[in-house]
Every structure is written in structure tokens, then in C-alpha cells.
């Protein structure tokens, strides 16, 4: 059959951010994919050479519009390790609480977008209605809905009293109930299964070879979760990485659904073991040396390389985001699939292109 090249263009109704894929199609079956990135490159890493290293927290938060708290936490952890600062234990627990709230919010956003990708708009609206509760919790406790700006080098800027904690847990119980009502619609509906089961299969050996991270790897059976490294007091929590074995789009959506419930459980654990104490210590001096920092973003493993030379500005800041590591996996998932499955498969790796291109 004759080959046609169809651009899955930068502008597409299903994509949250611009990504260009050149699909070589033979009779509606895809045979080859060539990606092209670079539509929203903003050059944020260059700002690290111009601004003070305290001001970079605000810059780094805006690399991603959905998972911003976790970027700030990774950066602060790297600088604190370089300068040898010991953050108070209460601040570590508070960072966990806010980053798990961020994870719930990000997964709910993705679940809505995923439902929208195969045309199920009412389910999309239901998931985003539940997400509004988490955004209200963010606004009431930190001041802003998504870009919360609550991490600083040396701790956190705000505190949570017991009244606020109780209110947060009430809100999370409501979220759990509402999600439970939507579970059968998302995971057991005949039409949803027809669109997602068996699509975009990534075998376990391929996932390991290509370096897939996050839910994309965990859906293929690799039990890799950066939270097991135990950063920021996570070694005091009790949880297991959520793993599935099928490796298709259905497994990936099931994992993210279960991770919402896992994050609610983590916040409950945090409330029961959080110690009293101060939330912030004064920081003096300048960083010097180089360091690595890894945390678990909703999309996978986030990796920071920071190099400083003792002045106010950093020498080099390099950010490797999980979507960048998942794009080779995406390229191997697509051949053999039909053209109408492309939006579902592209969304199933949770692409955050603004993170990838910074």
C-alpha cells in the first residue's frame, strides 16, 4: 500500500501542550513515528546564570504548570544538600503533604483529559469537579491554587494547624467517595475498555531497555518508584509502589487511579506522625560544588543537576523531566496501531511538554 505522512500536529484538541509527531501511515496502520520538540522552549535554565539562587525557586516552579511544587522541592533539596543544611523534620513532613496533594491534583487532571481523549466529556467534567476540591485546599493553606510557592531553601513558608489538617482530611474523604463512584465508569465500562485494552502495549524488557520511568514503567511490571529512596522523611512512611503487568493504556490509567488513593493514604499517615517544631531555618552563605537530586513527580523520575561556584548565581542547572525519558517508549508503542488510537496512546504516557522543553 502507498505510504502517507500525516502530521499529528503541534495543535491538537487532545494535547495539553504542543508536540509534533510525523506519522507514516499505510492503510490506516501506523508504521513509523518521528517526533519533533521545541515549540515552547523558554530557556529557563539560562536564568539560573542570571538570577540569585534563592530567586530560582520561583523560576523552577514555573517549568511545569501542573507539577510545580515537586520541581521546587527537588531544587531546594539539591541546594540544601550542597550547603549542608538540615531542614527541620516538620518542614519535611509538610513538604510531603503538599507534594502528595499536588500528585492527586495532577492525576485527576490526567484522568479527565484521558476520558476526553476518547470523547467521554461528561466523565472529564466529573473528574475536574473533584479536582476543584484539591485546588481549594491548596488555596486555603498556601495562598494559590496550583503554583503554591511554599518551599524555600531551609524549610517551608507556611504552617498547618490541627484545624486545617482536620479540614484537609475531610476534603480528602469526600474526594475518595466521589472517586469510588466513578471507578466502575472508568475501569469497567465496555466502551472504555474497547478503546484502551491492548492499545499501546509496552513489554517489560522494552520498558527497561528504553529507560521508561513513572507510571509508564510501572504499568509494564517494573516496580520503580523514586519515593522509595526515602527523601524528605519518606522513609518513615509505609507504602508499596503501585504495579500492573499488562503494559497497555488500560493498565496505565488503572495505575494512576490507584495512585490517587495511595496519596490520600500517605497524607493520612503524615497527619498521624507529623512532629511539632519549627518550619524554617535561617540560611546564610552561598552554595559551592555539584549535586544530583531525584524525586518522584506524578509523571515519573525528576532529575536535577546543580553546579555552583560560590557566587550568588549558579553555574549550571540541568533538569531532566520524566516525559523526556518516556518519549522513546512512546515511539515504540505506536507502530502497529490504528490512526484513531494515536490520541489515546500519546495521552497515556501523560506528556508534559512544557516540562520537557523548559
Amino acid at each position: 500500500m502507498q505510504k502517507t505522512i500525516i502530521p499529528f500536529g503541534p495543535q491538537h484538541p487532545v494535547l495539553p501542550e504542543p508536540l509534533h509527531l510525523k506519522l507514516t501511515v499505510e492503510d490506516e496502520v501506523i508504521t513509523e513515528v518521528i517526533p519533533a520538540l521545541g515549540f515552547i522552549h523558554r530557556g529557563l535554565e539560562m536564568l539560573a546564570n542570571i538570577r540569585d539562587f534563592h530567586q530560582i525557586i520561583q523560576v523552577v516552579e514555573r517549568v511545569c504548570g501542573i507539577c510545580s511544587m515537586i520541581h521546587a522541592m527537588c531544587y531546594c533539596q539539591g541546594i540544601e544538600e550542597m550547603m549542608g543544611i538540615e531542614v527541620p523534620l516538620r518542614a519535611k513532613f509538610l513538604r510531603i503533604i503538599w507534594s502528595e496533594l499536588n500528585r492527586i491534583q495532577s492525576h485527576l487532571l490526567w484522568l479527565g483529559l484521558f476520558a476526553d481523549s476518547f470523547g467521554f466529556e461528561s466523565l472529564f467534567m466529573q473528574f475536574w469537579k473533584i479536582r476543584e476540591k484539591i485546588l481549594d485546599i491548596n488555596e486555603a493553606t498556601t495562598g494559590n491554587r496550583v503554583i503554591v510557592s511554599v518551599s524555600v531553601i531551609g524549610g517551608v513558608r507556611r504552617d498547618l494547624n490541627s484545624e486545617q489538617m482536620r479540614w484537609i482530611l475531610e476534603g480528602l474523604s469526600w474526594v475518595e467517595d466521589e472517586i469510588g463512584r466513578l471507578e466502575t465508569t472508568l475501569l469497567s465500562d465496555y466502551t472504555v475498555k474497547k478503546r484502551t485494552v491492548g492499545k499501546g502495549v509496552l513489554p517489560k524488557e522494552k520498558a527497561y531497555e528504553l529507560g521508561a520511568v513513572g507510571p509508564t514503567a510501572r504499568a509494564s511490571g517494573i516496580a520503580q518508584d523514586m519515593r522509595l529512596l526515602g527523601y524528605s522523611a519518606l522513609n518513615q512512611f509505609d507504602f508499596e509502589p503501585v504495579v500492573e503487568t499488562d503494559g497497555d493504556c488500560y493498565a496505565r490509567s488503572r495505575i494512576r487511579f490507584r495512585e490517587v488513593l495511595q496519596s490520600v493514604n500517605l497524607i493520612r499517615q503524615a497527619k498521624s506522625i507529623i512532629p511539632q517544631g519549627e518550619t524554617r531555618i535561617k540560611v546564610q552563605g552561598r552554595p559551592e560544588g555539584e549535586t544530583f537530586s531525584r524525586v518522584e513527580q506524578p509523571r515519573g523520575e525528576l532529575f536535577y543537576y546543580i553546579k555552583a561556584n560560590g557566587t550568588k548565581t549558579l553555574d549550571r542547572l540541568r533538569i531532566r523531566t520524566p516525559t523526556f525519558a518516556n518519549i522513546p517508549a512512546l515511539i515504540t508503542m505506536l507502530p502497529g496501531m490504528w490512526l484513531s488510537d494515536v490520541p489515546v496512546i500519546v495521552l497515556s504516557i501523560d506528556p508534559c511538554i512544557s516540562c520537557t522543553e523548559r
Partner: protein, 119 residues
């Protein structure tokens, strides 16, 4: 039919999930970070806010006692509020209203009088 009917009845008689914005507006939470206000009478023009601002939207002229602020570059992070030594900067709960033209906020404080030398 038995699965759909309870759903339909519940949706008919329950509260709406949306509000009729902009006629009905939810008031923001207490510690929400909104518009930035400077109480110029208390300002000491130490320019710490200008040094710490991540988006460099504040300029301070100590000699002329001028505090200049670009609300369109500001990201409303609140770092200037935390760092302010004269406790004159604070943030309202509500965000700024939309305007038709870009503007810069320029506040003039009292010029300090030099002390007269004793003969």
C-alpha cells in the same frame, strides 16, 4: 433502565456543581495571595523587596523616596511581603481587576530632611 433511572432522578433534584459566575462570586480564602499593596507612609525605602523579587518588578529610589512597581510582571509570590523590614507591604485576598492599559504603580513617600549642623 434500573441503573439509569436512579442516576437521572438524583441529577434532577440535586444541587448544581457550577455557580453563575460573574453574578455569583466565591469570596477568596483568608490566606489567598492577591494584589500587592504598599503602605508608603511606613516604608523605609531599604529596597530589600527589590533585591529579593524573583521577577524584578520593584524598583526603589531611596534619595527621591520613590517606590515603583510593575503589577504586570509581578507573579504574586509574596516573597517581598515576607522580607519587608518596615512591615508596610501586604497582599489583599482579592486579585487585581482587569484593566485596559498597562500601567506602573509609582508611590511617592516623604523626603527625609537633612539634620542641620550645630555651629
Amino acid at each position: 433502565m434500573f441503573k439509569m433511572t436512579p442516576n437521572v432522578l438524583k441529577n434532577l433534584f440535586s444541587q448544581k456543581a457550577t455557580r453563575r459566575y460573574p453574578r455569583v462570586v466565591r469570596s477568596p480564602f483568608e490566606s489567598a495571595r492577591g494584589a500587592l499593596i504598599n503602605d508608603i507612609g511606613q516604608c523605609t525605602f531599604c529596597s530589600i523587596c527589590a533585591l529579593k523579587c524573583p521577577s524584578q518588578c520593584i524598583t526603589v529610589d531611596k534619595k527621591a523616596a520613590i517606590w515603583r512597581y510593575d503589577p504586570f510582571a509581578c507573579v504574586f509570590c509574596g516573597i517581598c511581603v515576607d522580607a519587608c523590614t518596615g512591615k508596610c507591604l501586604h497582599q489583599k485576598r482579592e486579585c487585581r481587576n482587569p484593566v485596559g492599559e498597562r500601567e506602573t504603580v509609582l508611590l511617592q513617600g516623604e523626603l527625609k530632611q537633612k539634620n542641620e549642623k550645630k555651629p
